[in-house]
């Protein structure tokens, strides 16, 4: 019969990676109509990073996401970037873009201050305008300022910057040090049904609560969490590359390498835990990899809760779960006094 169980797992995960440096550089070019173009060496690999990076530039410049075009991934034209790896794009590349946007904005402020008759320090960029802080009635459109900076003053508003997370190398003996600038945290709770006659596990629902600092784009965070969980389900129950005794891979195809489909996916609820990291762009950290971290642990704990068996090696295939159930039954029967 089917037995229901629940399992919890939490985790921590670093943003960026453990080498001496992993910088990103970026350029933000203000166009004469108040829109902007961002140059970054990172690559869009399906996660929506260019959208998030555009939002960071837009926020810094006080314009809308639609006003920003992001050009990426060309070694001839875009600045260096350590790459779409280690959940670092929003945090590291995001900081570089933020700083580049600030540099472009400083040129706009220099042009706008005499137009508005105030000091540069009194200005802010908001709602596609350069305006006086706490006196927004005095403003000029950002496009007008950009055009003036370029065509009248001869100082086009272009900013370039780079950023590298502050780390401290590990002591080779003890491993003590500051290997990463910051970490994110998450919890996933899974509910499963385990068929105690076949060992088959069905994941019914997962409640996921993830910290990513400020969620620059909550919709993309939710997408990352759902995608990460699908990889976690595969790791927990199905996926395994198998080799024969001679070291030849025996299931190099999607017929024999089983991975989750939409039918295997549980119902997922995503909560974004309120967080703010002062070292990230607008308080953001990252979310890409951590989403795949606690899923298999939560599912395996739920199996344990459902049928009382601990599976020590992944994946927990039906065969493994059933073998463990049978072993448990056999052990229990032996304990009955004669």
């Amino acid at each position: 019969m089917k037995r229901r169980g629940r399992g919890i797992a939490c985790m921590w995960y670093p943003i960026g990676f453990t080498v001496s440096a992993n910088p990103s550089a970026a350029t933000v070019k203000m166009n004469e109509d108040g829109t902007a173009t961002v140059l970054t060496g990172t690559v869009e690999t399906g996660q929506g990073s260019l959208t998030v990076l555009g939002q960071i530039a837009a926020e810094a410049l006080g314009i809308a996401t639609d006003d920003v075009h992001v050009v990426s991934a060309d070694t001839d034209t875009t600045p260096m970037d350590t790459g779409a790896i280690a959940s670092r794009t929003t945090y590291v590349t995001g900081n570089a873009i933020f700083l580049a946007a600030e540099a472009a904005k400083a040129i706009l402020f220099e042009a706008a201050a005499p137009m508005l008759g105030v000091k540069v320090s009194q200005l802010e960029a908001k709602d596609r305008k350069i305006q006086v802080k706490n006196y927004p009635q005095r403003n000029v459109s950002i496009g007008e300022v950009a055009l003036r900076a370029q065509a009248v003053l001869g100082t086009p508003a272009i900013g370039s910057a780079s950023w590298n997370p502050p780390t401290v190398a590990l002591d080779p003996e003890t491993g003590q040090g500051k290997p990463f600038a910051t970490y994110v945290y998450a919890t996933q709770i899974a509910e499963v049904d385990v068929d105690d006659e076949t060992g088959e596990v069905e994941v019914l629902r997962i409640a996921a609560a993830h910290d990513c600092g400020t969620a620059i784009n909550p919709m993309l965070v939710e997408g990352q969490v759902e995608g990460g969980i699908s990889m976690g389900v595969g790791m927990a129950l199905q996926e395994e590359m198998l080799f024969d005794a001679n070291g030849r891979h025996i299931n190099p195809n999607l017929t024999n390498y089983i991975m989750p489909t939409s039918l295997d996916m549980p119902e997922i609820t995503v909560d974004i835990v309120q967080g703010f990291d002062p070292t990230g762009p607008f308080g953001a950290k990252g979310v890409g990899e951590p989403t795949a971290v606690p899923t298999s642990a939560a599912i395996l704990n739920a199996i344990h809760d459902a049928v009382g068996v601990r599976v020590y090696s992944l994946p927990a295939t039906s065969e493994k779960v059933l073998t463990a159930i049978k072993a448990k039954r056999a052990a229990e029967q032996k304990q009955i006094p004669a």
């Binding site: 629940r6 797992a9 939490c10 985790m11 995960y13 990676f17 453990t18 690559v43 690999t45 399906g46 260019l50 959208t51 939002q55 960071i56 926020e59 809308a64 996401t65 991934a73 060309d74 070694t75 790459g83 779409a84 280690a86 491993g175 003590q176 040090g177 500051k178 990463f180 970490y183 945290y185 919890t187 709770i189 409640a207 609560a209 910290d211 600092g213 620059i216 784009n217 919709m219 790791m235 996926e239 590359m241 001679n246 070291g247 891979h249 299931n251 195809n253 390498y257 991975m259 835990v273 309120q274 990291d277 951590p290 606690p294 642990a297 939560a298 704990n301 344990h304 020590y312 090696s313």
Partner: protein, 463 residues
């Protein structure tokens, strides 16, 4: 006679000879359809507080309409198709490679072997991976020769005509066996243990002595492939000025350019890498693979050369997730506080280092879990085996160790009669807690995440 010279022969023929069916056909083009492109812009994209908005992705429409141009959608005049012959044997010495029959095939424009690659090694940490093996085979998915032909089918057929004679060598497949002194060496004379990491804090023996209970378990995980929808793909174009342009599905173009410059002995200014929209990476496309071979085939033929891995090659010849054997020894008080944790991790590195050193570091540092533990000893080893190389994959060793530390956490809770949520809240990091490496942690919200998930799940305490 190859395809190119055959075309020249035919040009000399009498005009009266009828054109073939192929020559009469129109080039294959997709029917032109007008798509209902709406100009309506979702409101979130127009907000001037951009951060925090549920902004839609500008590439979403193109994906939805099937208009995103992946490498396989790109084509250039005269472009050739490359395929790579795989060894199919886990450990061997190459005695002889005979490519003459393949080269003689009509439509085959060039064949490349490892000996022709200027610097036949690459890798992000250690340069231990050949582009094409030229002497020793390190795993069954290694490439031994590459072919460029006018069609993919001819390239495939040419692979069958390449004869490779191997002298089989003993293969090391089990990482624990590979650690033994007397084990055959994957990269002789070097030890199979190619990187180690230790994190030591406090005194675990003292912590175990003060503990009421000791838990000892061994956990293990499997080798996993990323299975991106889009396989590894690239187009290389070596132009007449000796400048190389590569369109590639690589998530790290800066590193890729450095690796390609090294393998081809080219100045970086002569290399342009264009990262196309990638159909899934998950860590699997963080380094070069076939690109130097495609570049040299392009140089040989003077034509652009495209290479797209098959699904089989995605499994056998690209990086995968590390299987890890994880020994956990944990000492706790009868109230459930963890006093000491000793961990030993053995990572199966496969045939090449790839991102193993980084994975080893992350796994070792994260292995104690997000908990306040005064006494920690975490040791990690990564070893060569004659299997598909393991490397970067979403989580870099963290999903494996999380499976171990969270499984054991539930066993501890069960034994002590404490609710699984409670025991985690009891031990979890606080703001300012020291990490296992002694780093003072900031913006720590692990307890908030535990409570939030528990609320959403309707978690009822039970012990």
């Amino acid at each position: 006679m190859n395809e190119h010279s055959r075309v020249l022969e035919r040009d000399k023929l009498d005009i009266a000879e009828p054109l073939s069916d192929v020559e009469l056909r129109l080039p294959a083009v997709l029917p032109r359809e007008s798509y209902p492109i709406e100009t309506l812009t979702p409101d979130a994209r127009q907000q001037t507080r951009a951060v925090g908005q549920r902004v839609t992705r500008p590439d979403g429409r193109l994906h939805g309409l099937g208009q995103t141009k992946y490498i396989d959608d790109l084509s250039f005049p005269g472009m050739l198709y490359a395929r790579i012959k795989r060894a199919g044997i886990a450990s061997a010495r190459i005695k002889r490679i005979d490519t003459s029959a393949a080269e003689a095939m009509p439509g085959v424009m060039a064949v490349l072997t490892g000996k022709e690659i200027p610097v036949n090694s690459f890798g992000p940490s250690f340069q231990d991976q050949p582009v094409l093996v030229d002497d020793l085979v390190f795993h069954a998915g290694d490439g031994v020769a590459a072919v460029a032909a006018v069609t993919e089918q001819i390239a495939n057929e040419a692979l069958e005509k390449i004869v490779v004679e191997y002298e089989p060598l003993p293969a090391v497949l089990d990482p624990v066996a590979a650690m033994r002194e007397d084990s055959p060496k994957v990269h002789a004379p070097n030890s199979n243990i190619y990187a180690t990491k230790t994190i030591r804090k406090g005194d675990v023996e003292k912590g175990f002595a003060e503990s009421d209970y000791i838990f000892e378990d061994r956990f293990s995980t499997q080798m996993i492939e990323h299975v991106s929808l889009e396989p590894h793909a690239a187009i290389a174009d070596w132009d007449a000025n000796g400048r190389l342009t590569i369109w590639a599905t690589i998530g790290r173009i800066t590193l890729a350019r450095a690796d390609i410059a090294r393998t081809l002995k080219l100045p970086m200014s002569r290399i342009r890498i264009i990262g196309t929209i990638v159909g899934g990476n998950f860590g699997g496309k963080n380094e070069i693979s076939q690109e130097p071979a495609l570049a040299l085939l392009s140089k040989k033929t003077g034509r652009p050369v495209k290479g797209v891995f098959t699904r089989g090659e995605e499994f056998t010849s690209t990086t995968t997730r590390h299987p890890i054997i994880m020994d956990y020894k944990t000492g706790v008080t009868n109230k459930g506080r963890i006093l000491a944790r000793q961990i030993r991790l053995v990572l199966d590195g496969g045939a090449y280092c790839s991102w193993s050193e980084t994975t080893l570091g992350k796994a070792c540092i994260l292995a104690p879990g997000p908990y306040k533990i005064d006494n920690v000893l975490s040791e990690a080893f990564v070893v060569y085996t004659n299997k598909t190389m393991t490397g970067a994959m979403r989580g870099f060793g963290a999903p494996q160790v999380c499976f171990a530390y969270e499984s054991q956490m539930d066993d501890i809770a069960k034994k002590l009669g404490i609710d699984p949520l409670e025991i985690r809240l009891l031990n979890a990091f606080d703001e300012g807690s020291p990490s296992p490496t002694g780093q003072v942690l900031h913006s720590v919200v692990i307890k908030e995440s535990l409570r939030k998930a528990a609320d959403r799940f309707d978690w009822e305490p039970r012990s």
